[in-house]
Amino acid sequence: MNFDFSDDQKLIQKTARDYLAQHAPLSVCRRVLEGNERYDAALWKGAAEMGWLGAAVPEEYGGSGLGHLELVLIAEEIGRSLAPIPFSSSAALATEALLVAGSEAQKKKLLPRLCSGELIGTLAVAEGTGDFDVATPGTRIEGGRVTGEKLPVSDGDVAGIALVLVRDGSGASLALVDLEAPGVTRTSLESLDPSRSQAKLGFSNVPAEIVGASGKGREIVSKVLDRAAVVMAFEQLGGAQRALDVTRDYALGRYAFGRPIASFQALKHRFADLFCAIELARSNAFYGAWALSHGNDELPLAACGARIAATDAFELAAKDMIQIHGGVGYTWEYDCHLFYRRAKLLGLVLGSASEWREKLMTRLEAREAA
């Protein structure tokens, strides 16, 4: 048994960590959060140059041809650094959608541009408040043209292409839309975490091509979401671990009543609970990574476990981070709110933990019935 990453993989992770420590200190996240940039373009370029965006893309499509085990470790580091780049939208959602369902021509045309970072992609499914995964999209495709509205779309205001779930006759299909095309309107939404962009996309008779089998849009989205959920679980895990580490250091250095606050048992036990939550999330994420990289039947369940545990762990870590920091944790100046916002954003963009728990039960029941 070797339920761990290889030394080579860990080296790739270490390289990513070092790169981000240098190029993406928390001040970078803060700059985007406070300013008018929608993401950090220099860092995005760097990520592309490091080969991160195409880590799991075969070399023939411009990727580095490593694999998903490498991709998730990079995601963990992006999570740890709270990097303000559209990584999950482009390198997980859009890229995985093309890998899963794209035609050879689509892959040849788009993947190299996604891997190079020249093109940003995203996936547009949700239509307003509620679940991520809409049963019957209101957005339609007719005669190869898409009309409707999608929101929220992660990084939809900076993406060049979107894979859009559309109603297609009596079913749903996945449509590839050029967001520069006439008839597309893009409106930035005020993000709860402004270092990660969210948008509303309007389509009025916009030309599109179908990705994957016509009428199979929901199945494809489901597969893509599972893959992205595993990648994002590592991103969440990285964020959660960083939150724990920063808070631990703070609590060791902050003295009250003549002792470090980390010596008070109520806080020690909270740290222990948090450690447990993070390690359980890590184990679930590992399992997800194994299933993803082996492309086997375990992925649908493993992805649910990875997403739910990682969402809970990061949200708990960020919430405790503010509480344990006390007053300063509630100030804009301290970094706690960057984590609090990012945890909530990541926990919702692919659908809430509740939505995934419901999905998990449906899948568990199906497997038990089988």
């Binding site: 949700a126 709860l192 009250a256 919430k319 503010i322 007053g327 944790g329 509630y330 909530k344």
Partner: protein, 415 residues
């Protein structure tokens, strides 16, 4: 057991109501309530708050429980509660006098000199001058007595240096009440002294603190060689902790009285408007179970407040149940906001007023509520208080209590 006013209470309520009807505009109960932590106040708001307070004072409705000699009405706590209950049904300016009237005034009454009482209490009651409290410091939050600001005697004056933090309203206050260390060689609690501070004194700098929700209700206040006359000292030199405790005791009363139980109806409405699995979220059993839990907790807080009021109404001292308001209410508020955000799904991660349900109100709440769990006593401090003062469990082992303050560790040993 009944919820009705006594005859006297009913008469008092009618009188208050009549005056309010004649002098203020009623609130629309269906209007959503705003952010729980007020944003930075502007001059207009200050002006209108001062006008409203003066009007109340002149009509005999200000500082109801204060003795008449200090500008109050010599009334009961219950009368004050009744007036506040009625007032809350009307549109009135934000409460900028809470700290002065609830905490600082009573401290002056207990520990102040006759001159201080004469000079300050009536103008404080009429709201002509606003007061702020200057206790917390960057290194003295939950451990308030660990404060390090200093005052050194110089002739008839004291010279203050240091920094305070979390001072609500410092930027529009004329006066502050401050605790500083006058003897670093004494034990922690023994070396403190309490002063009234003119906020317009030379050497004071006030900087707003930006909160994570973008608001700035609090300030940092810096002191560089600020002179305070000894006549502004409240209580004896070295007796500042005992004086401060009077202020803090009154803080517990002031905070306990205002346990907010609103918001649930809005959450229920949100659950009707939000969708889960394509159906209204309120039809989802998991959401229903959660809502029911929150309703029960909220009802518990509400009727716990009623129990406290009952004791006051009967002239008794309220029981220990009053301590739970903030310990339970603050995490509950965060939980409600988190649920409301989650119910909106991915769109919950935006604050877009047009796209979200309830115009982003809940996202604002979600950003504001971590502060409620910290300000005025963290969850942890409140639980310590319940454990030690209510349940009489042993205090924490305290190593810092009897050593000279300058020897108390304030950070990790240097390597």
């Amino acid at each position: 057991m009944d919820f009705n006013d006594t005859a006297e209470e009913a008469a008092y309520r009618a009188k208050a109501r009549a005056w309010l009807d004649a002098n203020a505009e009623p609130v629309d109960p269906n209007e959503p309530s705003g952010d729980p932590l007020a944003e930075r106040e502007d001059d207009d708001m200050i002006r209108s708050a001062k006008a409203w307070q003066a009007k109340k004072f002149d009509a005999g409705w200000a500082c109801i429980t204060w003795p008449k000699e200090y500008g109050g009405q010599g009334g009961t706590t219950m009368q004050s509660v009744i007036f506040n209950q009625e007032q809350s049904k009307f549109k009135t300016p934000p409460p900028i006098y809470t700290i002065g009237h609830g905490m600082l005034g009573p401290t002056i009454m207990t520990h102040g000199t006759p001159e201080q009482k004469t000079k300050h209490l009536r103008t404080m009651a009429r709201g002509e001058e606003i007061w702020c409290q200057l206790f917390s410091e960057p290194a003295a939050g939950s451990d308030l007595a660990g404060l390090r600001s200093t005052a050194v005697r110089d002739g008839n004056d004291w010279v203050l240096n240091g920094q305070k933090i979390w001072s609500t309203g410092a930027h529009f206050s004329k006066w502050g009440m401050i605790v500083v260390r006058t003897d670093p060689n004494a034990a922690k609690h023994a070396g403190l002294t309490y002063f009234i501070l003119d906020m317009e004194s030379k050497g004071i700098e006030i900087r707003p603190i930006k909160q994570i929700n973008g608001g700035s209700g609090f300030n940092e206040v810096f002191y560089a060689d600020v002179r305070v006359p000894d006549s502004n000292r409240v209580g004896a030199v070295g007796d500042g902790w005992r004086v401060a405790l009077t202020t803090l005791m009154n803080e517990r009363v002031a905070i306990g009285a205002g346990s907010a139980t609103g918001g649930f109806r809005h959450l229920l409405k949100l659950a009707r408007d939000a969708k889960r699995g394509g159906r209204p979220a309120i039809e989802d059993s998991a959401v229903r179970q959660k809502l029911a839990e929150l309703w029960v907790t909220q009802q518990g807080l509400k009727y716990t407040g009623f129990r406290t009021l009952s004791a006051l109404s009967q002239g008794k001292i309220p029981g220990p149940e009053g301590s739970i308001g903030k310990a339970v209410g603050a995490p509950m508020a965060q939980e409600m906001a988190a649920l409301a955000v989650e119910l909106q799904g991915p769109l919950g991660a935006t604050r877009d007023a047009a796209a979200t349900l309830h115009e982003g109100l809940w996202q604002g709440m979600w950003l504001a509520t971590p502060g409620i769990r910290i300000a005025g006593g963290t969850d942890e401090i409140l639980k310590n208080i319940i454990a030690e003062r209510v349940l009489r469990l042993p205090p924490e082992v305290r190593l810092d209590k009897d050593m000279p303050f300058r020897d108390v560790p304030t950070g990790p040993p240097s390597k």
